[in-house]
């Protein structure tokens, strides 16, 4: 087992542990922080799997922007999840059975790193991109060539999606700031001022 394989196995195990941690933790802010951790691990794993550009994007978007988006949403809403949610055996059973079936399905998959998997041996795409993009498009980074030239319309569509999302968010939230604390039904005016943090997550 090479060091590369070992690293990827360890990093993926970290990911699974972080995901379980996100399930178990009740405090929402802690879950958001763990999501940031999760994105960091994911980006590290992408680097080991040779996906440099994906790691780059995941670091900037997943760990940076997503965390801030979640925090923004939390700052508009109540940010402590009450200890609720049905940890029923039914949900767990459903998830375990589905996961078991999917794992049974992976037994036919090509192993990690196999050079003869269908994704690698498709006669036109990857080979052509790798062999010709240097001459046809120019930049040494093949991913950039494919993204901006061969699949340029795809990227245009992506930009449209992001634009639409931006318009939608603005339309939903309005451009002016709101302070929803004033119209909260639970917090009557003159209630106790909000202490930073929550008592159940605080060492005394």
């Amino acid at each position: 087992m090479s060091l590369e394989q070992f690293s990827i196995a360890v990093l993926l195990t970290f990911l699974a542990v972080a995901a379980i941690g996100i399930i178990v933790l009740r405090d929402l802010l802690a879950a958001v922080i763990l999501t940031g951790l999760y994105s960091l691990i994911a980006a590290g794993a992408f680097v080991v799997m040779d996906a440099m550009d994906v790691a780059f994007t995941e670091a900037a978007v997943g760990s940076g922007i997503s965390t801030i988006l979640f925090l923004g949403a939390l700052s508009f809403t109540k940010h402590d999840q009450k200890p609720r949610g049905n940890d029923s055996w039914l949900a767990l059973l459903f998830v375990v059975v589905t996961g078991g079936l999917l794992i049974y399905g992976t037994l036919d998959m090509p192993p990690y790193g196999s050079a003869t998997s269908p994704a690698q041996t498709h006669p036109q795409l990857a080979k052509r991109f790798i062999e010709q993009s240097g001459d046809e498009v120019g930049p040494p980074n093949i991913v950039t060539s494919v993204l901006a030239s061969y699949r340029g319309y795809d990227t245009l569509g992506e930009t449209v999606v992001v634009f639409t999302a931006g318009v939608a968010v603005m339309g939903l939230l309005g451009l002016k700031r709101r302070r929803p604390e004033e119209e909260l039904p639970e917090h009557a005016p003159g209630d106790t001022p909000h202490e930073p943090g929550h008592d159940n997550d605080r060492m005394t």
């Binding site: 202490e195 930073p196 943090g197 605080r202 060492m203």
Partner: protein
């Protein structure tokens, strides 16, 4: 470049990297084992900065000697530069806001050094943290060698 200088520089890079490794592991153990937030923060902050300095300097030497690529070295120096700014700033902000939220540091016997969380908030907002906030004895109870 003469041969022995090359060997010497590679050896120096080795030593720097190994010191960095020791720092990293010591920081991890400190983060896990130390008793309260501030000591853990000390372990994490100090060793993060230290290990980054040593490891990146080792890599700079290798980039210059083995790869002979000054761009790589420049990037490494840039990373080092940013880390030297960001890590201490993060540690400072964390410690300050923890104090501001009323988390009282403990001394080596596990006792809080301040009487109440209110004092911790006051101490965080004060410009002169030593004055009038200590419980009784002046604080020579700094957790020395917290990381190791």
């Amino acid at each position: 470049m003469p041969d022995f200088v090359l060997v010497l520089l590679t050896g120096l890079a080795w030593v720097l990297m190994l010191i960095g490794c020791v720092f990293v592991v010591a920081g991890g153990v400190g983060l896990l084992r130390l008793p309260d937030l501030y000591t853990r923060l000390h372990a994490a902050g100090v060793t993060d900065t230290g290990s980054t300095i040593f490891m990146l300097l080792g890599m700079v030497i290798i980039a210059l000697v083995e790869y002979q690529n000054p761009w790589i070295a420049a990037k490494l120096i840039l990373i080092l530069f940013f880390t030297l700014f960001t890590t201490p700033t993060c540690s400072h902000a964390l410690a300050k806001i923890a104090l501001l939220s009323g988390l009282v540091p403990i001394d080596e016997n596990g006792k809080p050094i301040l009487a109440s969380p209110k004092l911790a908030k006051k101490m965080a907002l004060s410009r002169k943290p030593k004055e009038g906030f200590e419980a009784d004895d002046e604080g020579d109870n700094s957790n020395k060698d917290g990381a190791s």
